[in-house]
């Protein structure tokens, strides 16, 4: 479990982190999102002791990592597994050698290292690539070796810094399902830093949005998406790519459009509501729908002849109307 309290970091006058309070319970997969410069990287570097915060604490499994120095810091780091954007494997070692490296650092014997490395490579589905050097592996395979390496010292916490940003979408899906299955089998707590909302949607139980070094919003995925008015919810579930600005097209066609965000209301219910209010929905111009944690959420751009009446009726029924034109 991870417990951040008042974490603050200043670099020569600029504030990168401005008092972060955050709690990630054991076994949770928690996403940290935000634009570049929001403080994501600084946050993860403070959590690993690679950067020393100006004030505040970062307690990981009962140990305040920010208070550790020297040998104690090195010991504390062994309970944290870290996955990087670029796997950062050593080219001079084979896949098995890379996976076994944390054990070598910790002074584990050769036979035990070899056994653990084989086991972990099997776990990430690369049992047959043990003797390959990183240059002989694809980006996704390298990242899987990186994850196996992060798990070698049996950490309770896995920190992932943009783990899929350098990968294509199919490989991203593989890596995310691997992380999810590791949580199931090992009960590990995972913190994923990412700028990809799709990663949060697919892999995370909870999410925190950082903006200007502060927590702008945080909560379980279900809770965040259940408040469709927030900027985070909007970022997490946008209209399909290329359809954000389609309202103008609709206006040009003589129709009006109403954009709504759904959380818990089904589409048939929506149509029935509009019908009853006498402002029927003529069609759906663009939309995205997903069921997350049992909650039906989505964002739709509806076509209608009377935007005023439709948005009024939907608002009255407690549905979040984002745009009416």
């Amino acid at each position: 479990m991870i417990e951040l309290a008042g974490l603050r970091k200043e670099f020569a006058g600029t504030v990168a982190l401005d008092g972060i309070d955050l709690s990630v319970p054991a076994g949770q997969i928690h996403g940290i999102v935000g634009r570049s410069g929001a403080g994501k990287s600084t946050l993860i570097r403070c959590l690993t002791g690679l950067e020393r915060p100006s004030s505040g604490s970062a307690v990981i499994d009962g140990i305040d990592i920010t208070a550790q120095r020297g040998a104690a810091l090195r010991r504390a780091r062994r309970s944290i597994g870290m996955v990087f954007q670029h796997a950062n494997l050593l080219d001079s070692l084979t896949a098995a050698g890379n996976v076994a490296h944390p054990l070598k650092v910790a002074g584990v014997g050769r036979a035990e290292r070899r056994r653990r490395a084989a086991e972990l490579l099997d776990l990430v589905g690369l049992g047959d690539r043990a003797d390959n050097h990183p240059a002989q592996l694809s980006g996704g395979q390298q990242q899987r070796v990186g994850i196996a390496r992060a798990l070698a010292a049996q950490p309770r916490i896995l920190l992932c810094d943009e783990p899929t940003s350098a990968l294509d979408s199919a490989t991203t899906a593989q890596i995310l399902s691997l992380i999810a299955s590791l949580r199931e089998s090992l009960g590990i707590t995972v913190l994923i830093i990412t700028h990809e909302m799709s990663v949060v949607r697919e892999a995370c139980d909870a999410v925190t949005l950082l903006a200007d070094g502060r927590v702008a919003s945080t909560g379980s995925l279900r809770r965040v998406l259940g408040e469709p008015g927030t900027a985070l919810a909007r970022d997490l579930l946008p209209l399909p790519e290329g359809r954000e600005d389609s309202a103008a097209e609709v206006r040009a066609s003589g129709r009006a459009s109403v954009q709504v965000a759904l959380a818990g209301t089904s589409v048939p219910e929506l149509f029935a509501l509009a019908e009853t209010a006498g402002a029927p929905i003529a069609g759906v111009e663009a939309g995205t729908l997903e069921t997350i944690d049992g909650l039906q959420v989505g964002r739709l751009r509806l076509l209608t002849d009377d935007a005023q009446a439709l948005s009024g009726a939907l608002r009255a029924a407690g549905i979040h109307v984002e745009e009416a034109a």
Binding site: L50, R74, I80, N88, L90, D91, S92, R149
Partner: protein, 225 residues
């Protein structure tokens, strides 16, 4: 051309091989000493730089100035200036054994800079990945920096050895022996162009052989392909 030429010339038949041997010995010993002392010096230079493993800007500046001082003194002057030191180390200032001292002193800072550059080429993310395993600085240098930079280190040692071959010719001019001395005393001072040509050909061969071996080794050590 009133002297016996080529295989009739005793300067070639009797002196060429021993001179080659002296050049090889000078180069080999000086290269060995430069690598043994230049490697730790280069690692120290790298590690003390700002934002690096053990940032000590003042130490880094001092080392850097020392290394640049060593590299900026022309070799021929360094050699003469070091004569008392050479006498103290090997008991004489003449012969190939004595030449090894100024050759090493001149090559150590040269190789140290190449070491620093090779280490700087290792992506910092790899260092951080191993720091996250709880590795101490000594482990990082032994287990990450040296193996990851090995192709660059081998190339640097090769360049140093080739440079040393040309320095041995200068060492020859002040009593160090070797192919350079032979070329100067016969080829230049006695106008025996056959000796000059033979010496140059052998020097070229030595350089080509060192470069070939170095490239081979560097490729073997490189797993980035």
């Amino acid at each position: 051309m009133n002297h016996p030429m080529w295989l009739d010339n005793p300067a070639i038949t009797a002196e060429l091989l021993p001179a080659l041997g002296q050049t090889l010995l000078m180069t080999a010993f000086a290269a060995l000493i430069s690598v043994l002392l230049g490697l730790p010096l280069g690692i120290w230079l790298w590690a003390t730089a700002r934002g690096c493993l053990a940032p000590r800007p003042a130490v880094h500046r001092a080392l850097s100035a020392l290394v640049d001082l060593g590299r900026s003194i022309p070799f021929i002057i360094l050699m003469i200036a070091l004569i008392p030191f050479t006498r103290f180390m090997v008991g004489t200032a003449l012969g190939w054994q004595a030449a090894v001292v100024p050759l090493s002193v001149g090559a150590i800072p040269f190789f140290a800079r190449l070491v620093e550059a090779a280490l700087r080429d290792v992506p910092h993310g790899k260092v951080e990945a191993v720091q996250m395993m709880g590795a101490a600085n000594g482990q990082i240098i032994r287990q990450v920096m040296v193996p990851e930079a090995l192709p660059g280190l081998i190339s640097g040692a090769t360049v140093t050895a080739v440079t040393l071959v040309s320095y041995t010719a200068m060492a020859g001019a002040v009593g160090g022996g070797g192919l350079g001395a032979l070329a100067i005393s016969y080829g230049y001072q006695r106008y025996q162009s056959d000796v000059m040509i033979a010496c140059i050909a052998l020097l070229v061969l030595v350089v080509v052989a060192i470069q070939f071996a170095g490239d081979r080794l560097a490729r073997l050590a490189d797993h980035r392909r």
